[in-house]
Every structure is written in structure tokens, then in C-alpha cells.
């Protein structure tokens, strides 16, 4: 990961120099900047996720219907994706692209806050272009902020608590609401558990992290929530009531002449309505033609 960590470390030190050697401000600006730069990827990921979530009920029906015919299932899924303009790969791809960037950022902060001789020695090898930028002058970074030594864990446990709270807040606000309240649904149950477990795990790790890294986590979580809020994707219902399940889906049965109408999620309902309207129109046209030929 050196090819990522080293440029990020150099950039971090450069920013630190520009911002008057204020490490807290540097971490905040650096994290926010990275989040802003990766925003198009995040946006793409959110859109794709949302689309996937909306077609999930229909997908389930398809899976049930074609459980013995994988080929047909695959073609029906592709048709569904095409119809809704959804690409399942685009849900993961932006995340995969962002991951190395975030790893580089994380690595840079942890290494720049060198708190031991070996870490400082390691930092020396990560500063690029020192002949021009003279960033070695910045070493070591100011690591005192309020009660914190940013190179060491927070002894008052305030930052770890903030890490837990903001991670939980982030996952609650931006995770799509469950499509069902069925307690037997394993994926929903796992998601519910992980929403609680993940923040606790990260919080546990942050007890050992340098508090500068915990600060990065908090800022990063808040930046992601802000990004989601700007896109209107924050689901407050998730926060206050766990999110009401979306209405059951409908699958337009092609073999059946009379579609079974059930409650639909907004997007799916629109699609179904359009399809129903098309069918009705076709039926009307056929009936008019029949009447006309009868009249003749």
C-alpha cells in the first residue's frame, strides 16, 4: 500500500504546512476533501443501491418463480435491471475504487502521527519530494489538542464514544429501510445486528487507535452523512423507528391475463401502472378493432 500511503502522507504534511500546522484542522480538511473528491463515486453508488433496493421485491418474486430455471431467472433479472436502468456492479464498483483511497488516507494519518521512534523512522521514508517541499521541517506533527495526545488513544474515552455514535448514526441514516419486517428474513436480521455490532466493533478498535485516527473516523462519518443528506437520501425514519417496511411488491405475471394487484412501492407501482396501462390500451385497441370488424 506504500504507493498510496506515501503520496497521501506527503499531501497531509503539505496541507499541515498550509494550514498553519494545525493537525486537527488538517485531519478535518483532508478527510472532507477526500470525501468531496470521491463524491461522484459515492453518488453513483448511492443511486445504484437505491435502484437495487427498489427492485428487490420484484427480484425476490422472480427468484421464487424461476427457482428451478437459472437461465430464465438470469434473463428476467437482466430485463428487470435494464427496465429500471440499474447496474448491480455499479453498487460495488465505486466502493471498491474508493476503498484504496480511504485506505491511503487512513494510512497517511496513522503514519504522520508517528508516536514512537520506529514510526518516526518509517515516516521519514514516506515523505516524497522533500528536496523541493522541505516537509521534513514539519516533523513531528503537533499532536496535542485539548485533552488529547493525537498519537495515543483517548484516555477519557470521549472520542471512542463519538466514533460509536457517529458510526451508528451513519449506518442508521443511510442504510435503506428493510423491505420486510419478517423476523425470519436472515438478511434483514443480519443487517439489524450489524448496524449495532459494527459501531461497537469500531468503537472497540478505537480504544486502541491513536486518537487522531478516531478523529478521522468521526469526521469521515459526518461527511458521509452530509453527502447523503445533500442528495436527499437520509432516511430519518430509520433513526426514529427503525424504518417502516416498504409495501409488498408486485410481480406482473405474464402468463396471467389478469394481473394480481397488490400494494406497491412507489417506483414499482409506477412501473406496474405503466405496464397495466399498456396492457389495457392493447386490450382496448383489440376490442375496438373487433368491434369495428363486427360492425363491418
Amino acid at each position: 500500500m506504500d504507493f498510496l500511503t506515501n503520496p497521501f502522507t506527503t499531501a497531509l504534511l503539505f496541507l499541515y504546512q498550509l494550514l498553519g500546522q494545525n493537525i486537527v484542522l488538517t485531519i478535518i480538511i483532508f478527510t472532507v476533501l477526500t470525501r468531496v473528491l470521491t463524491f461522484p463515486l459515492t453518488q453513483q453508488q448511492i443511486k445504484s443501491s437505491k435502484g437495487m433496493q427498489e427492485i428487490q421485491p420484484v427480484m425476490k418474486k422472480l427468484q421464487e418463480k424461476y427457482k428451478n430455471d437459472r437461465e430464465k431467472l438470469a434473463s428476467e433479472q437482466m430485463r428487470l435491471y435494464k427496465e429500471h436502468g440499474v447496474n448491480p456492479v455499479m453498487g460495488c464498483l465505486p466502493l471498491l475504487i474508493q476503498m484504496p483511497i480511504l485506505l491511503g488516507l487512513y494510512g497517511a494519518i496513522s503514519r504522520a502521527l508517528a508516536a514512537t521512534p520506529l514510526q518516526l523512522l518509517d515516516l521519514n521514508h514516506r515523505i516524497l519530494g522533500n528536496d523541493v517541499l522541505h516537509l521534513s521541517k514539519m516533523v513531528p506533527l503537533q499532536n496535542q489538542f485539548l485533552w488529547l495526545n493525537l498519537g495515543q488513544p483517548d484516555k477519557l474515552f470521549i472520542l471512542p464514544v463519538l466514533v460509536v455514535v457517529t458510526t451508528w448514526l451513519q449506518s442508521k441514516l443511510m442504510t435503506p429501510a428493510p423491505t420486510t419486517n419478517d423476523p425470519k428474513d436472515p438478511s434483514a436480521a443480519m443487517a439489524r445486528n450489524m448496524t449495532v455490532m459494527m459501531p461497537l466493533m469500531i468503537g472497540l478498535f478505537s480504544l486502541q487507535f491513536a486518537s487522531g485516527l478516531s478523529m478521522y473516523w468521526v469526521v469521515s462519518n459526518l461527511a458521509v452523512v452530509a453527502q447523503y443528506a445533500l442528495m436527499g437520501r437520509v432516511d430519518i425514519r430509520n433513526l426514529i423507528g427503525g424504518g417502516a417496511p416498504k409495501p409488498s411488491p408486485v410481480l406482473i405475471e405474464e402468463a396471467d391475463d389478469t394481473p394480481k394487484k397488490k400494494a406497491l412501492p412507489t417506483n414499482t407501482r409506477e412501473t406496474a401502472a405503466k405496464m397495466a396501462a399498456t396492457k389495457k390500451k392493447a386490450a382496448n385497441t383489440a376490442s375496438t378493432k373487433a368491434k369495428a370488424s363486427k360492425a363491418k
Binding site: 466502493l95 523512522l121 521514508h125 521534513s136 496535542q144 450489524m194
Partner: protein
Amino acid sequence: MKILPGPRSRFVGAAFLFLLVLSGCGAPIAGESWPGMSTDGKYLYVADKQYVIRINPDPGNTKQTRQIDWLAKAPGDAHMYGPPAIGPDNTLYVGAFDHKVYAFPQSSQPIPVALAPTSTTPPTDRFIAGGLVSDGVLYIGMGDKGLKAYNTKDGSEKWTFADTQYGVWSTPLMQDGTLYFGSLDHFLYALDPATGKLKWKLDLDGAIGGTPLYDNGILYVGTFNNELISVSVDKHSVIKRFTTKGWVWGTPVLMDGVLYFGDLSGAVYALDEKTLTQKWEQSYPEFPGGVRGSPAVIDVKDAKGEPTRVVIVGSENKYLMSFNAKDGSKFWPKGVSEVSANDQILSDPIVVGDNVIVTTLNDNQVVVAYNIHTGNQSWSVNLSDENTRLQTATSIPLSTDQATESAATAAATEPK
């Protein structure tokens, strides 16, 4: 049948994967420090992790693996890396990562004692530096800021100097009634050792990680701003600056008006003491790695029996590197030692007889001695877990033979 996971599961899965990568698969963050080593002229003392060990470097001993002569353990497994400071009664003083300084009596049942446990100004960070004992007082820098003085007689705190912005990571220097030390806050400090009051300080534009060298009213200090600087102690001002290729962490060595030192780019320099003009600069690009410690400068006889001065430095490249002091040319045939130490050599070397002795980051050979003439490994010391366990199980290792016997006895009585 489910082909693709739901979006919620995917988000959670991705977050989990991210966390896993962060915690496990990312490049590991470097560890703590390298073993610090000091000598009283007879024994070598090494602090590494939770142990302080004593080694007899007896040149007459031809065994490849040296037994630990004596060993003590810090309470609560606190880690220690500063070169042990030796008190007048042979008590060893070592600062630890648990924010305490321990006194280790060199007895058969060494029970470490924390200094000034009821201090009203307890240290707020780990101790990284080695201490200096002078006139019954131990002076030791603190990892986050400042320096403390303790009375060695009763372990009480004498004074605390807290007016540095960053840590003091190197052993201070006592010269003509003044205590000198550099700090990572870029300043060189001069204190009154009796009171801890500041006499003067000077900004050198770069973090200072090594002990200053004093000669004839001039201090020589290396900085992380790629400089070696000479400072007048009378005028409290910079005399000359010499720009290097990398950070200068170690203390330079002065011999016959020539300063020898290395930097973290891997280069070794010889400068004129007065003018700081370069006599030579040399490195071995085929063995890349920085020089953290000070050099050892030794007068020996070469293969032809001619007196020669040789400069030997440890390197991150796991080898010792040798140079003719005259022109920087290779002294050993390959330039570097015949055998790698299996890990980085970051300590200051100590010369005993025909051996130059260093510490490494490798527990299996925490101390390694190399023959000055050939660059071959003479002996090494193993501080691996099993060895340590055997030693501590008996708590009586005081001489080489006793240690061997007690280790063997412990091994024989150990339940399988």
C-alpha cells in the same frame, strides 16, 4: 435461490470488508523502538521490550551464542528501549513506556523500583530517551515534553523542566556545569542541572533526535531538517550548517578534527570540524537503508599491518557498513559485513576489543558482535521467548555458567 444479496446486506458487507482491510491487510504500522545499549566498560546493558539484560562481552569467550549474564523484567510487562543509565552503585535506570522510570539493582533477585511514585507532577507520557547519571542525579527526557531529574539516592524527584513543546528522545549531555539536550520541538536547550532552570535555548529549524556532541565550546547537532549544525555555547548561536541528504538522527563522532556521521538517506559523511566542509561522503547504493545511529571510529591495522582508521555504522539494510576514514573507500571487501543481522541495526555501536557490537530488532539475535577486521559475525545473544522464560523461571542468572545450568535445570523440570 438468491443470486445477489440485498442492498442492506451489501452495505454491511462492504463496511465489514473495509474494516477488515483496515485492521488486517493494510501495511503494518511500525513498532515501538530499537533496543538501547550502554556499557560500563566491563558489561553491556541492553533494554528491550520488558527486559533489561546484562551481557559479558569477554573477548576470550569463543562461543557463537552468548548467554544472558543477568536479566530483570519491568513490572507489568512495561516496554523499555532507552540505553540503561548506570548509577554509582551499579543500579540501572531505564525509562519505560508505562510513564515510569525504573531502578534495577543488579542483584540475583532484581526487584525494579519505580522512581518518585508519589510525584505531584507525574510524567504524562512514555519515556523513550536514555538517562544520564551525574553527581547522584538521573536526568531523563520525557516522550511528550520536557525533562525530569531524580535523586538516585532515594528515587525522589529533584525537578521537572516542562517547557519544551515536544518530546525529548535522546540522552542529555552534561558539560561544564550545563545540561544540554535537543527536543523534537526543533530547539536545543541548555539548563542549570541544579535547579532545572533554562539558561538558553536555540531554534535549529528541525527536530533533534540525537544527543549533541561537545568540543571546545562548540556543540554539534544533527536535525531532521537534513542538517548538521555547529552551535557556539558562548554566543548561543549557530556557527555553521552543513546540508545532508537525509535526517541526521545519530550523534557525530569527532576524531582528530574530523566529524563522522551518517544520515537516513544511507550516506556517511566526514566533515572538517571547524568549517563543516565535506572531506568525503559515501554510501553503498547496492545496500540501501538509512543510518540511524552514531558511527564507531576505530584505529586498526589493515591486512598489510598498516595502521588504518575505520568508520563503521549500522544500517536499516541489516548490515554493518565499513569505510576507510581517510577517503570513505570500502574497508571490508564487500563494504558491508559478511553476514546480515537479519533485521535493522539502529543502535549506536559499542566497540569492545576486536568486536563492534550492535543491537538489532530481531529477538533471536538482539545483540550481535562483528569482528572489526573481517566483518564476520563473532557472536550473538538470543532473547527469544523460550530463552527468556527459562531465565526468568530461575531468577538467578548472574554468570554465564550459572545461567546455562539454571536454564538446563529449568528445562529439565518443566512439565511437558
